[in-house]
Amino acid sequence: MHELSIAYSVVEIATQSAVEAGAVRVKEVHVRLGALSGVVRGALEFSYDIACAGTMLEGSRLVVRELPARVYCAVCEREVELASVQYFCCPVCDTPSGDLRQGRELDVEAIEVDLPGEEHGNAGAGDTQGNSEQE
């Protein structure tokens, strides 16, 4: 089970971005999990609280978005979603395809943070990139 070390990496990535943006607390972490990422959702959720303890993520919520495996079908000439990862064949025409287009994702998409109130008040309005771009 490597989900605990994955959870620690999530905390590290979120903390770094939050600190760079001048945040004081992380409230939510959004993670994408592909069907072939090799990470078990339940185990990651279980490990997450342990990894967050004593950090600025303590008490935060982990939001997992699971992504099904998708392959490109050369016969149908389009990307199709696999019915199961035990069967890499197009669900429409049954042609085998190993041309994986989605399913290995394992990343932090976004975080929701608390920022201290700013007097000049230019943060927030439509800018979701953090302040690293402005520096």
């Binding site: 890499f88 085998p96 943070v113």
Partner: protein
């Protein structure tokens, strides 16, 4: 206090992937072909590798091996009998190898003096699938004693591999191993995958494996 959403879009294994990328560049610069051997515990990785190292040596080829285990250096001792440089990586309970461990253990080897590097991963069909070790080729081993449906139970690792090796073919009959079903299951999770049938004990299929290594080296390494 103001709440804000920050977009990040960063790979959770970014750190490992970056180390693996640099490692791959370093290994390529030395003209090395690197193979990452993954399988469940007891599938015969060490025996397979031992035979491989012996055969390469007999043919005047140079190879080195790193072997990962949670504890003990038993496998490294066995592999050293093949006359190749071998180092044991003890993960102290961790279920997989990471790129940094590979990098650290290569530090005092003259990589330019080897043609092939083998990494025997920790016996585990789950966690190692997520970690790039800087290898050129990922080889998944399946022994005839394990049952034909292993690929369906662990699709991630079989899908992430480039070559499948069926081991212990000398026991196939005694185990009533259904080779056709096993190969069908491998290809169900990885269409078109090359499958080799081997026995480290009898030597069956090992020549084909060595030819496969030579072809991979020719195709992937600029310095031959």
């Amino acid at each position: 206090m103001e709440t804000r959403v920050l977009e990040i879009r960063k790979g959770i294994l970014n750190k490992n992937d970056e180390i693996a990328r640099r490692l791959r560049e370093r290994l390529h610069a030395c003209g090395l072909l690197t193979m990452n051997l993954v399988s469940s515990p007891g599938s015969g990785k060490t025996a397979f590798l031992q035979r491989t190292l012996t055969m390469l040596r007999e043919r005047g080829k140079t190879a080195a091996a790193l072997v990962g285990d949670l504890a003990t250096d038993n496998d490294a001792k066995r592999l050293a009998e093949a006359g190749a440089p071998v180092k044991q990586i003890n993960t102290d309970g961790r279920c997989h190898l990471e790129a940094q461990m590979i990098s650290d253990h290569l530090a005092d080897w003259d990589l330019g003096s080897f043609e092939y590097l083998f990494i025997e991963n920790v016996g585990n069909l789950v966690c190692p699938s997520s970690y790039d070790l800087g290898e050129d080729v990922r080889v998944v081993l399946l022994s005839v004693t394990e049952g034909e449906d292993k690929p369906l139970k662990y699709p991630n690792i079989f899908n992430s591999a480039d070559i499948a090796v069926i081991t212990k073919m000398d026991l196939a009959e005694a185990c009533e191993f259904d080779l056709e079903a096993a190969e069908r299951n491998i290809r169900a999770v990885r269409p078109g995958m090359r499958i080799l049938r081997t026995s480290a004990k009898s030597g069956a299929g090992m020549e084909e494996w060595l030819e496969c290594l030579a072809a991979e080296k020719l195709a992937r390494c600029s310095v031959v």
